[in-house]
């Protein structure tokens, strides 16, 4: 695959690893913010191959993992309404809410359909004019503009049975909140590549400026990740943190201006509830007043019941980089992919699922 395979070259990879081993001396605690990076790092065995002074921690960049039980309960309650078709990306379907899951409620007769694209949800709305089609909007800045585009398209076409439950979140505010919590001392952050394709590199400037932490925006192939790690090592060794783009073929410093414009036309910043972290100001997206007619949260009357977080689940501290799955008493015992207790185990890119599937008992 063009623009993919070249970045998987094992010979270049080995040489780059040798270089990192040669040049990295200071202890370097790096957080890979994005769940997709956690998966890629495990899949290619990168953790094992890095020198011992580099520690990689997973962060909260997993839209599924950070969706609060209360929000998932709302999605499930919507699916239970008559004449409603709930459409969702596959990622959310197995995640347990307080009492049920989208998959479970589908088995009980609710019309829940998995889509690859929000465009497919619009198509379902067009094809079922007598039903209300609600799309469960998860994802960060990579996905939110596509949802915004779908809303604008619905408005333009006069589709009046299409709604979105906006559970979207944005990255820079949560990164700041995490750093302000001060629970983990970080030396560098591997920044999310596709979020950055949308927002560019400027929004991360506060991290090296105010927190003295190295930043590198990384792609998802092994060489992309190793290049980002190399950049972080250089910044850490020289004591000169900054924000660098290792994924230059996909990310421009100014980002995708059109996508940002679409997102800001339909959505405005709002407080959001992050599982395991709590409410963080301006870290979520809500509909602007002129688009409220598409807001499933406002247009439907639901009472999802009290939200319950599963007992013993430490997803929260795993998402903040404070613990690893290996430190969880439930990991591999009562919490397994077949029987997940928390979202970090259900989500394909959740830390716990990743450690379980790819790592041995040392998480390496």
């Amino acid at each position: 695959m063009k623009f993919v395979e070249e970045y998987r070259d094992p010979e270049l990879g080995k040489k780059l690893l040798e270089r990192i081993h040669r040049r990295s001396h200071k202890p370097a605690r790096l957080m890979e913010f994005c769940g997709g990076h956690t998966v890629a790092i495990f899949k290619h065995g990168i953790r094992q191959l890095l020198p011992g002074n580099i520690e990689m921690l997973s962060g909260p960049g997993c839209p599924v993992c950070v969706t609060a039980s209360a929000d998932l309960d709302r999605a499930i309650a919507l699916a239970d309404l008559p004449d409603v078709i709930v459409t969702s990306f596959g990622d959310m379907v197995r995640v347990p809410g307080s009492r049920s899951s989208l998959q479970q409620i589908k088995a009980e007769g609710a019309d829940v359909r998995i889509v690859y694209s929000v465009q497919d949800a619009l198509g379902i709305a067009r094809g079922n004019p007598d039903k209300s089609v609600i799309f469960i909007g998860i994802g960060f800045e990579t996905t939110a503009p596509t949802i915004a585009a779908s809303v604008l398209q619905a408005e333009q076409e006069g589709i009046n049975n299409y709604y979105v439950l906006s559970l979207h979140k944005v990255c820079p505010p949560i990164m700041k909140a995490l750093l302000d919590l001060g629970e983990v001392r970080l030396d560098g952050i591997v920044c999310p590549g596709h979020v950055s394709a949308i927002i560019g590199s400027y929004p991360y400037q506060f991290i090296p400026d105010d927190y003295n932490i190295a930043c590198a925006i990384s792609g998802f192939e092994p060489l992309d990740i190793l290049l980002a790690v190399d950049m972080l090592v250089e910044q850490i060794e020289s004591g000169q943190p900054k924000i660098e783009i290792a994924y230059r073929r996909g990310v421009r410093p100014e980002g995708n201006v059109q996508a940002i414009r679409l997102m800001e036309t339909v959505f405005e910043p709002a407080e959001a509830n992050w599982r395991g972290i709590g409410t963080v100001p301006s870290s979520g997206l809500q509909f602007r007043p002129q688009y409220e007619k598409f807001d499933a949260g406002k247009q439907f009357d639901i009472s999802p019941g009290p939200a319950l977080e599963p007992k013993g689940c430490i997803c929260g501290s795993i998402l903040r980089g404070v613990s690893t799955p290996l430190e969880c008493k439930l990991f591999r015992k009562t919490c397994t992919p077949e029987n997940p207790v928390g979202p970090c185990m259900v989500s394909a890119e959740g830390s716990c699922a990743t450690y379980y599937h790819y790592g041995d008992s040392h998480g390496r």
């Binding site: 065995g45 690859y116 394909a348």
Partner: protein
């Protein structure tokens, strides 16, 4: 004949009779033609016996349909124990309203697959159920075959040192079926690999009697089959990522949807665990068969990490290849 299947077609009366009469020419053979309640035949030696049900949705997909799948799946189950398949039973559960033309097409596929494999459908049954209680068509089969003398193939026979061979590209079938599902519309140029493997297996057995394990990696894909071998033989398996053959379009479709080809179903492939001395010979023989022409050695059996499959990545690190969990769902993250 009506153009849609009605409940009456399953009730045993005239309509049932007409429907069956219309099937018969497709499947004709002396045993079936007697239309007795049981098929009666002679067989001696060690027999292999299998059963399976097919509920695939959609029932037509690029490269095949539920009928071809039913015949090939049953033939392959028998072949994986080393048996030469002989006779199949065929049982339909039809949802009221299925167009007769679709049923005819499926019967056609069944006949073609049975002819290719050299097996006969010798007994059958047809039921029609109310709309909504079956998804268009379910097929159940059973199959009987004969094991040649001295053949002992089992998932528990793998031994350290054995070589693992896959007969060709993985992931074709699962991706072909997925490409037809609502909400995932994409076109893949690679059809399902659905195929009967009995002749391939027979050729492999004439080449060597040291084939220890055979399995067709259907649901759950290659990863599941290898994990089954590792568990049942209580050995470890080392796999090399770079050696596993995958069509680049199938790989692209997997990347698009967030799937790992190791977990995607195959319906015309087999995995063999063989004695190291015979591996190259068996591989060469496989490559001469059209269903084995992309066969490759992908790993070996070891006496460490029993029960686990470990894969060496292209960077030289290793990672575990675990069993899949539940249904594979497309993801955006």
């Amino acid at each position: 004949m009506e153009d849609k299947i009605l409940l009456a077609h399953g009730s045993g009366g005239k309509l049932s009779h007409d429907l069956i009469e219309s099937f018969l020419p497709d499947l004709a053979n002396p045993i079936l033609d007697r239309l007795d309640d049981s098929a009666v035949f002679e067989a001696s030696g060690r027999l292999a016996f299998t059963t399976d049900s097919y509920t695939v949705n959609p029932i037509f997909f690029p490269g095949g349909d539920i009928g071809r799948l039913a015949v090939c799946g049953t033939v392959n189950d028998l072949s994986m124990s080393g048996a030469g398949p002989l006779y199949l039973s065929l049982s339909f559960i039809i949802e009221e309203g299925l167009p007769v033309a679709e049923l005819k097409n499926i019967l056609n596929s069944i006949r073609e697959a049975a002819d290719e494999a050299g097996v006969k459908i010798v007994t059958g049954d047809t039921k029609v159920v109310n709309q909504g209680t079956a998804d268009k068509l379910f097929i159940n089969t059973a199959g009987v075959g004969i094991l040649p003398e001295g053949v002992d193939i089992s998932a528990s026979n793998a031994r350290p040192g054995d070589i693992i061979i896959v007969s060709g590209n993985i992931g074709d079938h699962g991706i072909a079926v997925l490409s037809q599902r609502e909400g995932l519309e994409f076109k893949v140029p690679v059809p399902s690999d659905c195929a009967p493997l009995n002749r391939l297996v027979a050729e492999m057995l004439t080449e060597s009697s040291n084939i220890h394990c055979l399995r067709d990696p259907t649901r759950g894909g290659l990863a599941t089959t290898l994990n089954d071998f590792a568990t049942q033989s209580n050995i470890g398996i080392n796999l090399e990522e770079d050696k596993v053959p995958v069509d680049k379009a199938v790989l692209a479709a997997c990347e698009l949807l967030g799937f790992d080809p190791l977990y995607i179903a195959n319906e015309g492939k087999l995995v063999a665990v063989v004695a190291p001395a015979d591996a190259e010979r068996i591989l060469d023989r496989m490559k001469q068969n059209k269903y084995g022409n992309r066969a490759a050695i992908i790993g070996d059996v070891v006496n460490v990490h029993p029960g686990q499959v470990v894969m060496k990545t292209s960077l030289g690190a290793s990672r575990i290849v675990d069993m899949p969990v539940g249904e594979l769902l497309p993801r955006i993250c």
